[in-house]
């Protein structure tokens, strides 16, 4: 007689009448394919864990964002926020779609240049620009976004030495009604520092103030904050026009649009509460259009959107290393990926799906990573179908920040694969090896031998 197929015994207590604080999830359907490519095959070919990026999703997401803005406002320019994901393959998809580059270090700046982005299409943000960095940016005619007055004075000094002019903007911080307020970067609007800095810039003919910039925060849950930010930038621009007769060429609203990930502590799924791209676009563009610029003097709208353009396109594939029971009775599942690869699990409850057909039984569990470290918790509590050693899972919406903020800690970093428009997977970053690590180590001679 054929034996009945086995599934490990489980028993779950039924709680009637109490709300499940983890929210009810019915997303247990297995995700067996990404863009038509089998997850099983991806893991067989590229290893577990491995990151997968969908080129199709990037392009679709980008085109939707462009549509949301361009159908409302005539002059829109996106600049890809390199720090969000600076893999060349990813950057070049955005550049092919027409995006400029937004960088915050000379490392990112040079990466953008090597990717073929013209110097004048690079926005150089951030508090850390050395004299050499500034010279390079000036020579390439890049847009220098000044963060603090030390940078302003250094730039004036540099320009004196090399006898050149620079195209600059200032970063403005402000109260948008969202707290904590990001006042660490740039010049404050409310206390007049931003306006005073603008006046200083106009006192230096070698500086041309072409734009005004802000980045009011990240994962902004209200589109209204952008209306406030936009009107404050518009106010500065109109005052510049009034006082100096100069048209500000662009307003750069930075990044900060939320992706559909669910924040920790949120009872509702991210996708149900975040504003849509159209909501953000409406808030920003209607504010500019109604502000009082002459139609032929409307500034170009720059956007440095990061996570909202790339989160959805990234997946992390992984496998179950072991399952165990904690002393308090909770189920624990140990995965082969942890906070080393999933930096964003510190603030998101990432959606995780099984990658194979599953039982109808589910259980609550804590998901641990492979690091021999207490901090390595991917999900403190998640309800998933029964998982067994070797089972594979797909983590969703991991495209932003993970592939730049990941740590080489205890484990080496795995491959990243991009599935092209025709469904062909391409390795876009090789996995690290012991040699990768040792390449940068040096042993003093007296420590070469240990015995």
């Amino acid at each position: 007689m054929a034996k009945i197929s086995y599934e490990r015994p489980v028993i779950t207590k039924l709680n009637t009448g109490t709300m499940n604080k983890f929210g009810t999830r019915t997303e247990f359907a297995p995700v067996t394919h990404i863009d038509g490519v089998s997850v099983k095959k991806l893991i067989a070919d590229y290893g577990s864990p491995c990151f997968v990026i969908s080129e199709r999703t990037i392009r679709n997401t980008y085109r939707n964002a462009v549509r949301a803005f361009k159908t409302r406002y005539p002059k829109v320019q996106f600049a890809w926020s390199y720090k969000t994901n600076y893999l060349n393959a990813v950057c070049n998809v955005f550049h092919q779609e027409g995006s400029w580059a937004e960088v915050v270090s000379i490392f990112e700046y040079e990466k953008a240049l090597r990717n073929g982005v013209a110097g004048e299409k690079i926005i150089f943000n951030g508090p850390d620009k050395s004299e050499e960095d500034l010279i390079k940016a000036v020579e390439n005619n890049s847009l220098i976004h000044i963060d603090h007055s030390d940078e302003l004075y250094m730039l004036v000094e540099v320009l004196g030495k090399i006898k050149k002019k620079a195209r600059v903007a200032i970063r403005v911080n402000m109260d948008t009604g969202v707290y904590p307020m990001w006042d660490r970067f740039g010049f404050n609007y409310e206390n007049g520092t931003a306006w005073a800095t603008i006046n200083k810039i106009f006192a230096h003919p070698e500086l041309e103030l072409v734009g005004l910039h802000c980045h009011i925060g990240t994962y902004m849950l209200t589109a209204h904050a952008y209306s406030v930010a936009t009107s404050k930038l518009c106010d500065l621009a109109i005052n510049v026009k009034y006082r100096y007769g100069k048209n500000i060429e662009y307003l750069d609203l930075g990044g900060g649009f939320a992706s559909a990930n669910t924040l920790k502590g949120s009872y509702l799924q991210g996708g149900d509460i975040i504003p849509t791209m159209d909501d953000y676009a409406e808030a920003i563009t209607s504010t500019i259009l109604n502000y009082g610029f002459k139609m032929d003097e409307l500034p170009t709208l720059f956007l440095e959107t990061g996570r909202a353009l790339i989160d959805d396109a990234g997946y992390l594939l992984g496998s179950v290393i072991a399952i165990k029971r904690l002393s308090d009775g909770r189920r624990a599942t140990i995965m082969d990926f942890g906070v080393n690869l999933l930096f964003t699990s510190f603030w998101y409850n990432h959606r995780i799906s099984p990658a194979q057909e599953i039982s109808s039984q589910t259980e609550d569990m804590v998901l641990y990573g492979p690091l021999c470290m207490n901090i390595d918790v991917v999900r403190e509590s998640i309800n998933l179908p029964l998982l067994n050693k070797g089972d594979q899972v797909v983590v969703h919406r991991v495209g932003a920040y993970n592939m730049t903020q990941w740590m080489q800690f205890i484990q080496m970093r795995p491959r990243i694969v991009m599935i092209g428009m025709d469904g062909t997977p391409h390795v876009i970053r090789e996995k690290e090896s012991l040699d990768t690590m040792l390449r940068y180590e040096r042993l003093p001679e007296h420590l070469e031998k240990i015995g």
Binding site: I4, Y6, V10, I11, R325, Q361, L386
Partner: protein, 91 residues
């Protein structure tokens, strides 16, 4: 009246546990109800009949496509959960 059946050297199952065909389990001792899967139901029924641990392994490996090592590991784990729900009672 005895309401517990000896299962292992030091654990008894609460005999009044009710198990339905669909895997619905009720513990009259605590008033809690549970849901269990096919293998879980089988184990509870065998325990109610007074099966020993060895009987259980044999029954599981005869009935289901599972090897003894896996059955042992899973049973040990399952017993911990049953204890925490007071379905199994330590004596």
């Amino acid at each position: 009246m005895r309401t517990e059946v000896r299962t292992t050297a030091n654990m008894n199952i609460n005999k009044n546990i009710a198990i339905s065909e669909t895997g619905f389990v009720f513990n009259p001792l605590t008033g809690d109800s549970f849901n269990t899967n096919r293998v879980g139901q089988e184990i509870l029924r065998q325990l109610q009949k007074g099966a020993s641990i060895d009987d259980l392994y044999k029954h599981l490996t005869d009935t289901f496509s599972v090897d003894k090592a896996t059955a042992e590991k899973d049973l040990a784990d399952f017993f911990m959960v049953l204890k925490s729900y007071q379905i199994l009672i330590e004596v």
